[in-house]
Amino acid sequence: MRRRITFVGALFLLIFAILFLQLNDLQIVKASSLSDAPGNYSAVIKAFSTPRGEILTANGQVMAMTVPSKSQYKYQRVYPHGSLYSDVTGYYSLIYGTSGLEYEYNQYLQGKIAVPSSLSQLFSKSYSTDSLVTTISSKLQQTAYQALGSLKGAVVALNPSTGAVLAMASNPTYNPAPLASPSGTTEQNAWKSYNANPQQPLLNRAISRAYPPGSTFKIVTTSAIFDHDPRLARVNFPPVSSIALPQTTHHLHNYAYEVCGGELPVLLAVSCDTGFAQIGLRLGASNLHAEAENFGFNQVPPIDLPGAAASTFPPVSFFSQNLPQLAFSAIGQGDDQATALQMALVGAGIANNGTIMAPHLLSRIISGQDSTILSYQPKVWKVATSPSTAQKVAQLMVGVVKSGTAAGIALPGIEIAAKTGTAQTTLTRHSNIVGQSDNWMVAFAPVGHPKIAIAVVVPKQAGLSANPTGAQYAGPIVKAMIAAALGVKP
């Protein structure tokens, strides 16, 4: 019996050795992957008990910061300007995670245990945080929301030569403060009410939601003319109010059955759908598709924010048996979809001699000791077209402001290039009269040495007038933004 008792003892040693091995695996080998795993709430709670870096505008206004708190988490995230910057900063919630820059640059923002500089610090954990300086201009951001007012819509303003995002607005938006509350109930209630709101305040329309770009897409079609078939620029299309489409008995009508025609400068200035539809059919699907992809369609723009959506232009094969769709795609309808960010990038590409710079919000990261530890270097995203094409398109867009649909945004002494867009989303049902449209404008200024490229979309919504247009709804916002950016009175 003694032998068997000894044997059982050895057996126990063996099975406990297995436990010890597994513990080593969990606590040493897999330790870091387990503690960084998503859904590890202990790590999250720990993060909420340490200070967190500030997020600042380019001119030093605080968009997000932490303050000491009496709650169980020791620190609390506050957003001094309420909802003004929520589409940029995102939220920082214990329960619902993070979004926006809070998510993107978490590794810099989160507190790190400071390297002790004295003996006493060895025993007290002190944290150092890095601050994030963005490219956002507080003036332009405020202007964007003021100009939007109660309209549902999105505004994206870029610096065309660097890709820096100067303003990004999505209306209606939300206040990130209750989501950062130490009270779980406050957090849950805010989250519920934001999600129950049919206006979707948590949705960042500027980068995540694509709408039919309408006639603003004609910038791309015009660019395609010079890149693939420059003879089309000199073709004179006779004035008509509608054209017959190939392979079908359907017709394509101009906006409000207007009659238009002529050469390219006139076609773009008055945004002649019948003219551009014929241009699109003559360019062919592969040329138009190649041009759209050169401008960044069908790719997610490399912006440093989570949730950016790709804009879409249908594949070449889609048009081979369906030429009417090519006519619609050439005028930014049919299956074309674009985000405000994408259209701002199209404008910025034309403004910047055909080169689209990667859009970015990060300017630099500053350590706790006020030294810059990381500085953003502008990067090229796409070479959309040649400088000569870009200059020709820019001049044609100047014509849109001088004597075309965007005349309303003209500012004395400033050369502005722009293109309006009014996507009649009910077009396929031939009822393009009633006021249901997505209203756009893309612009940049001043031509030659542009400081701002901007895209505004005011999608269809209740409360718009009958027959709304991009000039009517997006125009005033564009004008206000350009005036604010260049420091002139609108």
């Binding site: 019996m1 003694r2 068997r4 008792i5 000894t6 059982v8 003892g9 126990f12 040693l13 099975i15 406990f16 297995i18 436990l19 010890f20 597994q22 513990l23 080593n24 969990l26 606590q27 040493i28 897999k30 330790a31 870091s32 992957s33 387990l34 503690s35 795993a37 859904g39 590890n40 709430y41 202990s42 790590a43 709670i45 720990k46 008990s49």
Partner: protein
């Protein structure tokens, strides 16, 4: 013939009790130190109150058990009580970090359990008396086992009908019942030992006892839905049968019936199947049944080598004070802490094995072995479950985890081991004394 006075001098009781007191003081210092660390971890600027009544209970009560040992079991093993005190104290500190209210209750249960220990040491002067009253113990055990089924006092928690409520006190009678049934089966085995060992060839009688245990385990599983207890009692008794008889057929037969039980259990009880699938891939059930296990894995990962420090993290493992307390230790004390705990348990089991080896008389030896196996398997199964070596079986970590019934049972188990140890040491010392 030695007089009573001479017996006292010849046995090494005084030496053993002095060693016990020294080790108890060490265990108490560790507990107080851990408590202070935990306190400052939770309240960095707080004012410490050393006259905390609950801490005082946890620290002083084992000294009461020591005094009882001096008078009633002076020759018993010196390291059993200090190890239990250390684990009990560390458990109290961790429960206090996680949930102060439960810690107060745990302190009260410590008081009750140590009192039960003293009562047990006092009344069970001779381990053989347990042999004599085995049927009484068996009836009591079965009665306790089925008490949660009684309407009015029984309660169903988490699909397992394990709890009895008397006023505000809740109690898991299974815990005590497993001890009583183990004593009964051990006693039965010793009586039929020769018969069982000698039996050759077929015959149903030979499989009688194992069939009885197996049937009991299955019945418990089916009625109370407590897989853990059924597994524990079954594996314990198969091992004890083999140790007692030396007949390997019992190991083989135990393995076969174990697989059979697993199949039957898996078919009858949905949670058996569920626990196995969660064990195989908890991430597939991350939001539901696998949540606990995944959070436990995270806790161990966060802890790493040296842990976050007591009171300095916020363990989010559900039921962290009871089933998953080891994960909380893994998080706050790291691998160093969990290793120390595993070593403490191994020492405790080793001490139990030593009692079994030295025990005077077959029943005492086998009973000590039964107690040690219960302690070892319980510890192993819950640890293996929490760190995902085996599926979870829902046992409690002896002495460390929150839970009055478990604490009480393990102190009674300790008292039985102490009693056996006292008898055998006294006997051995005397024999050495007379021969030497």
């Amino acid at each position: 013939m030695a007089t009573t006075e001479q017996v006292r001098i010849r046995t090494r009781g005084y030496e053993r009790r002095r060693r016990e007191l020294e080790l108890l003081i060490v265990a108490d210092i560790v507990t107080i130190f851990a408590w202070v660390l935990g306190f400052y971890g939770l309240h960095p600027n707080g004012h410490i109150d050393f006259l905390n009544p609950w801490l005082t209970i946890v620290v002083l009560v084992p000294l009461g058990a020591h005094v009882a040992n001096r008078h009633l079991a002076a020759d018993a093993d010196a390291i059993l009580l200090p190890l239990a005190t250390l684990l009990n104290g560390l458990g109290y500190v961790m429960i206090g970090v996680l949930d102060p209210t439960q810690a107060h209750l745990q302190a009260l249960w410590t008081l009750i359990s140590v009192f039960a220990y003293v009562v047990c040491i006092f009344f069970v002067r001779n381990p053989d008396s347990l042999d004599r009253y085995r049927y009484l113990l068996a009836i009591l055990g079965i009665g306790l086992l089925f008490s949660p089924m009684l309407p009015g006092i029984g309660e169903n928690i988490g699909g397992e009908r394990l709890w009895v409520h008397l006023g505000s006190l809740s109690f898991q009678p299974v815990e005590v019942s497993k001890l009583l049934l183990a004593i009964f089966l051990t006693s039965l085995l010793v009586e039929k030992r020769d018969l069982l060992a000698r039996l050759r060839g077929g015959g149903l009688r030979r499989f009688g006892p194992i069939a009885l245990t197996f049937g009991l385990a299955l019945a418990i599983m089916a009625v109370e839905k407590d897989v853990g207890f059924a597994l524990l009692i079954f594996v314990t008794f198969v091992l004890v049968m083999w140790i007692g008889t030396g007949n390997r057929i019992y190991l083989l037969f135990g393995a076969v019936t174990f697989v059979l039980g697993l199949v039957v259990g898996g078919a009858v009880l949905p949670q058996v199947h569920q626990r196995i699938s969660v064990w195989l891939d908890p991430w597939k059930h991350a939001a539901t049944t696998g949540y606990q296990l995944i959070q436990a894995q995270y806790a161990f990962g966060i802890g790493g080598l040296s842990g976050t420090g007591l009171g300095l993290s916020h363990p989010t493992v559900p039921v962290a004070t009871s089933d998953f307390i080891f994960a909380a230790f893994g998080q706050e004390l790291g691998l160093l802490g969990t290793s120390a705990i595993i070593i403490s348990f191994l020492l405790l089991i080793g001490a139990g094995l030593r009692v079994a080896l030295r025990a005077h008389g077959e029943f005492s030896s086998l009973l000590a072995m039964t107690m040690t196996i219960i302690l070892a398997l319980q510890t192993f199964f819950i640890l293996a479950g929490v760190i995902r070596v085996l599926p979870l079986t829902g046992m409690t970590l002896p002495f460390l985890a929150y839970g009055g019934s478990s604490l009480l049972t393990n102190y009674i188990l300790l008292a039985i081991l102490m009693r056996i140890s006292h008898r055998s040491n006294q006997f051995n010392d005397l024999r050495e004394g007379t021969t030497g």
